[in-house]
């Protein structure tokens, strides 16, 4: 097990980026922190700055206004960073691919390591996605 993988197997710090979303996914992500699912018992913490993060969660269909922000955030992220696209909008653009402001989906803008589909994905699905990511990385 390399040094990098050893680090990733311990507590993961997660940064969340919301694109043009309806916030269902954002709320389900926050729900993972609350007592029923309680991600913090795995050492997973949500942080306020991308520079402290190991994992970047992206949700929402990205519109042209957000695209630059997303690229900027990705560039500021300390490498290696694992990117997870959450929800139907994050994975493929969801319902909004035909819109005149659609600039995504996420994997056309930045490289993505894992996809968690759903509209919104249940907290259990998000946790399962992150764990699969750790096991495979």
């Amino acid at each position: 097990m390399g040094f990098k993988n050893y680090c990733f197997k311990k507590s993961l710090w997660v940064f969340h980026f919301g694109g043009a979303s309806c916030n269902n996914c954002d709320i389900e992500i926050l729900d993972c922190l609350t007592p029923r699912h309680d991600l913090e018992r795995f050492g997973i913490l949500l942080v306020g700055s991308i520079r402290h993060a190991d994992v970047l969660l992206v949700n929402g269909s990205i519109n042209t206004h957000d695209k630059e922000r997303l690229i900027e955030v990705y560039n500021q992220a300390p490498k290696p960073i694992l990117v997870v696209a959450i929800g139907a909008c994050g994975c493929t653009g969801g319902y909004f691919t035909e819109s005149y402001t659609f600039a995504g989906p996420v994997d056309k803008i930045i490289p993505v390591n894992a996809y968690v589909p759903g509209c919104p994905p249940k907290p259990e699905a998000i946790i399962a996605g992150i764990i699969k990511l750790i096991q495979n990385s």
Binding site: T64, H65, E68, Y100
Partner: protein
């Protein structure tokens, strides 16, 4: 206070500006007026009759550009649509934002989405189009053959 009385007062006040009155039922009425009368009508509804401004909808149709201003008289559940039809080539109308603040954002949005000019708007700047689409592009306009 009932719908009949309100409509009577309105028709008395704006006899010469009314083009059409369409009554669906006691709670849904559409009155088409001359665009020039919009300031007086909005002032009358807001200050005298105490209506609340809900929002305005702009449309692009074969007749040109149309706007429905939606006013609500909450006590009786009445929605009064004040409907105006604007010129196809140079759509413009007086802004209502000097009467009340409720129309400020929607007039800016209608300007960005359809290109309607609101005269004397306190700050007709970009609201949602920054970074999303270019100047001179009006996403909600349609192509009519």
């Amino acid at each position: 206070m009932n719908t009949g009385l309100i409509i009577e007062n309105f028709m008395e006040q704006f006899k010469s500006d009314i083009l059409e009155v369409s009554v669906k039922n006691q709670k849904r009425i559409i009155i088409t007026i001359m665009p020039d009368a919009i300031i007086n009508v909005a002032d009358f509804l807001y200050r005298k009759e105490e209506f609340r401004f809900i929002i305005a909808t702009a449309l692009h149709t074969k007749k040109g550009f149309e706007i429905h201003y939606h006013f609500s008289k909450d006590i009786i559940g009445l929605i009064l649509n004040i409907h105006v039809i604007l010129d196809k080539d140079n759509p413009q109308i007086e802004s209502l934002s000097n009467i009340f603040n409720a129309s400020n954002w929607i007039e800016r949005e209608m300007h960005e989405l359809l290109g309607i000019n609101f005269l004397n708007h306190p700050n007709q700047e970009k609201l949602i189009s920054e970074g999303n689409w270019a100047e001179g592009v009006y996403p909600l306009r349609k192509e009519f053959k």
